[in-house]
């Protein structure tokens, strides 16, 4: 399928919905993207995300700068981009292209959420088996998906004006909508491992999840033992026989008061002048590509806890504790498909044994403790 042919590809007869409003608006926004692409810089990138090939088609440089760097480690060649199983995403912003978003058909008010908006921007009547629509009013983002044609659209009013964290985990709404009918689930979790297997690190902010993941990035030139699939967000294929963890993003975030624990990373920080209001952002792909891993078999789920004890200890925990750690934060951070998400997370915590990771004070010991533990499983 070419860049342009996606606009005209006819839907198959399968799964056709009777209400045509979602399709009409989707096509109107797709036409607007075509106008933006006709008059702006365009580019294409192909990434393998959670085992699926995504073709990212950009109109305007700002959106690519916003969304691609965190995915750069997943870039692949275009082979297979025309396959029926590949997924194409059209991304553009109005500020860079001067093409406005088509008038939205649902009840919209600039200063409040109308009755057509769910509590997180999901548009009532525009989310069904085939289509998905999320409109974030605060940040002026619109995400649309047509599962039947395997096309997504991501629009920003101004890509350059998005909050800084979008650069660290871009396209989460789109990937979440895409994954709904698959056995893949996005997860608020860090992940470390080797090709032989690894662990998810699940916990809300402050439990030591990111610090544990970053402690696996070596200080010097020695090869890493455990490698990092993500410090905050990952994807997992929930297959009881072979659960698999996938890396999503290569940009790590650190609280400013935690940078001192990782002095070798200080020079990697891309936003050193804004640490009073932003977390430190570090591109591991640029500075420590060997520390990253694209995927690994899931061998254990670890629930980190900061203890202040000298040594790191790993002890059995209940599956419910993993669900409790993962579900509220994942479900409320990801928009839409929440019942699906809870069901998938419940299946996930039954896929692998669950342990509490009581973190010791010596950060150099943590990777070794996890690595030894995983080898013994």
């Amino acid at each position: 399928m070419t860049f342009d042919s996606a606009f005209t590809a006819a839907p198959s007869s399968a799964n056709r919905v009777t209400d045509t409003a979602p399709e009409r608006y989707f096509n109107a926004v797709l036409d607007a993207f075509a106008r933006a692409a006709a008059t702006s810089h365009t580019s294409e990138r192909c990434c393998t995300i959670a085992g699926a090939l995504f073709r990212l088609c950009y109109a305007g440089r700002a959106v690519e700068r916003l969304t691609f760097p965190a995915l750069a480690h997943l870039e692949t060649g275009a082979e297979g981009a025309d396959d029926d199983e590949s997924f194409t995403v059209y991304l553009w912003d109005s500020a860079a292209t001067d093409v406005p978003l088509p008038a939205i058909p649902w009840d919209f008010a600039a200063d409040r959420c109308t009755r057509d908006y769910g509590t997180q921007g999901e548009i009532r009547g525009y989310n069904n088996a085939r289509f998905g629509a999320l409109h974030h009013q605060w940040y002026e983002q619109l995400t649309l998906i047509d599962r039947q044609r395997r096309i997504g659209i991501v629009w920003f009013a101004d890509a350059a004006a998005q909050p800084y964290w979008e650069r660290a985990f871009p396209l989460r709404p789109l990937l979440h909508l895409w994954s709904r009918d698959t056995d893949v689930q996005l997860l608020h979790a860090a992940a470390v491992g080797t090709p032989r297997g690894g662990a998810l690190l699940i916990g809300v902010s402050g439990t030591g999840k990111s610090s544990t993941a970053l402690s696996c990035v070596p200080d010097h030139d020695q090869p890493p033992g455990l490698r990092l699939a993500g410090d905050d967000y990952t994807a997992v294929r929930i297959d009881a026989a072979a659960p698999t963890v996938y890396s999503l993003y290569n940009i790590a975030k650190l609280n400013a008061d935690n940078i001192g624990r990782f002095p070798h990373m200080a020079r990697w920080i891309s936003n050193p002048d804004r640490l009073d209001t932003e977390k430190a952002m570090l591109s591991l792909y640029d500075h420590a590509p060997d520390a990253l891993i694209g995927s690994f078999p899931l061998k254990a789920i670890l629930l980190p806890r900061i203890t202040g004890a000298a040594r790191t200890q790993i002890t059995p925990a209940r599956p419910f504790e993993a669900l409790w750690a993962a579900a509220p934060t994942t479900i409320f951070q990801l928009i839409g498909a929440k019942a699906h998400t809870l069901h998938k997370l419940t299946a996930l915590v039954r896929c692998a044994p669950v342990y509490t990771l009581a973190l010791g004070a010596d950060r150099y010991e943590i990777p070794d403790a996890i690595s030894t533990f995983l080898e013994d499983l």
Binding site: S94, P100, P105, W138, A339
Partner: protein, 145 residues
Amino acid sequence: MNVNDQYRINAPNVVSETIDDEVIIIHLEAGIYYSMQGTGATIWNLIERGATVRQIAESLLTSYDGDLMTISFAIAPFITQLIDQGLIVAMTGGTPLTLALTPPAVRPPFVTPMIDIYKDMQNLLMIDPIHEVGDIGWPQQNPAS
């Protein structure tokens, strides 16, 4: 509350899962989540299956070591709390549940059902956007809609 009353989970606003006698319940609209264990989890699972208040009491009396008065007096306020939290709603015309009452080998002591409530995720809900409206690209409502 009548002994023949039935309730249902307030789906789709409320979702829940049970693992090993522990329940997580999430109220998606309110941004509040809950946990229950033991007798609370038992009652929740019975409500999910469509049990009447009477059947809930009979089941608890079979499964736990407690007297009917204590159990009955504990059920009503618990169910009222579930209603007040918007987690369940009254159901009319529900199919009666056929409940097989088999006492376990060991009946644990009856403990008053409790629900733990957590509200720390509410800040992730987009209740009312506060922003500057830009000139370029900010969507406008279609006047024809």
